[in-house]
């Protein structure tokens, strides 16, 4: 019995400790003076690795999700003679939900796991310790540019995702199924508001970017420096950040769109 309490207590305390280390790492990476001479170059390199390299999967998924949404929406709406509402259906579901959420999930799988594995291997091969030996702060040199790259890339990717998906929906809805192009765009424009839908969607994806990048970097930085530890950390990155994204999505939706 005592053992059980002890185990629960130990587990709880180590969770808190882990959260504390994660916060310490984040603030350590963000609050240090930026590296003025090398910083921009490092950031651009990470933007390439994290953002540009994710572009293809984001655009292809966006295209197909948009096409599927249009196809599914059309078959339901046409039963009510309301297929003209396909535009707002697709645009609102993409801008409010699917754009930020699916981008975050794909981003966690594509870029988050890569970040964790890279930093985990740096730790396992003692590159991080070597940096410290050379009086180079690994938080500033390794973590900070990766964090900012993720934080900047993901909202951009979400915007691209939504735009491509709407074009995909147009492709299926208008060019294939024969929804009127004029009403597709005009009803969409009358229903979608810039502040309420697009900006709220962007706020969502900034929050998700923070969550996913933070979890990915922390899992790598805190992993057990063995090959098994890295594989565990990579899996945890994808699982934890997906769950966190879905949980926060519910909270954000409740705050933003329930009123």
């Amino acid at each position: 019995m005592i053992d059980l309490f002890q185990a629960i207590g130990h587990k709880t305390l180590s969770r808190f400790a882990s959260l504390g280390r994660a916060t310490q790492m984040l603030f350590g990476a963000l609050l240090r003076l930026p590296n003025f001479r090398k910083g921009p170059a490092l950031l651009v390199r990470q933007l390439y690795m994290v953002g540009h390299q994710s572009l293809l999967i984001i655009m292809v998924s966006g295209l197909f999700i948009g096409m599927v949404l249009a196809l599914q929406g059309y078959t339901v709406l046409v039963g009510y003679g309301a297929e003209d509402s396909l535009g707002p259906l697709v645009a609102l579901s993409l801008l409010r939900e699917l754009g930020p959420v699916v981008t975050a999930l794909l981003f966690a799988g594509r870029a988050g796991s890569a970040l964790t594995a890279e930093i985990g291997l740096m730790k396992a091969t003692e590159q991080l310790s070597s940096l410290e030996m050379m009086a180079i702060d690994p938080l500033r040199r390794v973590i900070s540019p990766r964090f900012w790259a993720g934080f900047i890339s993901m909202p951009i990717l979400a915007l691209i995702f939504s735009a491509v998906a709407i074009l995909g929906a147009h492709l299926v809805g208008v060019d294939w199924l024969g929804v009127d192009a004029g009403s597709f765009w005009s009803i969409m424009q009358s229903q979608v508001s810039f502040e309420k839908d697009i900006l709220n969607g962007m706020i969502k994806s900034f929050v998700f970017a923070l969550i996913v990048t933070w979890i990915a970097l922390y899992k790598g930085y805190d992993c057990i420096p063995t090959s098994e530890g890295i594989s565990k950390a990579t899996t945890e990155t994808v699982v934890h950040s997906s769950l966190a994204v879905l949980g926060f999505d519910f909270l954000l939706t409740a705050v933003m769109f329930s009123g």
Binding site: A41, V44, R45, L47, Y48, G51, H52, L55, Y80, G81, A82, D84, S85, A91, L95, S153, P155, I156, L157, L159, I160, S162, A163, V164, I166, W185, M188, Q189, S190, Q191, V192, S193, F194, D197, I198
Partner: protein, 181 residues
Amino acid sequence: MNTRNIEILVGLFVALGVAAFAVLALKVANTGISGNGETYTLNAKFENIGSLKTRAPIKVGGVVIGRVEGISIHPQEFVPVVSMSIDASYECQFSDTTSVSILTSGILGEQYLGISPVIASDSAKQTCLGNEVTGDSDTELEALFGVESKALKNGDLITDTKSALVLEELIGQFLFNQGSE
């Protein structure tokens, strides 16, 4: 891969992001009502607003000139009062005999407010805008008939309204008429 290529590809990535933002902002979202966004407010009292929502469009002959700003209950009469924000360029253009009705676009469409405008007389426009009224034939004609219409300005209340059609009421009326035959 050298630094220059990476820079170019990242630039491409960011440019794509900006382009996507522009597409979403300009092509997908409505950029508010027409004009520079200056509006004035009119109120209208209804018996029943059906399922009219805030931000529903206000149309004159199908052209959107404003949006529903808020819906509240009149504190004494307990009827819904709809406040409408309308493009400021239409201030003092409508006479107070203008009527407002709640209409539906399509069978399953959203409800919107349709304004059937009565154009205010020149003298009423001038009074509304706060200018001196110069005597002209218009005023005399109205004086002759003993009516005096005013132009609608910010904060005015429109009383000539038609409520939303409620299906149950329609059916009730229909049955009532059938029964009386």
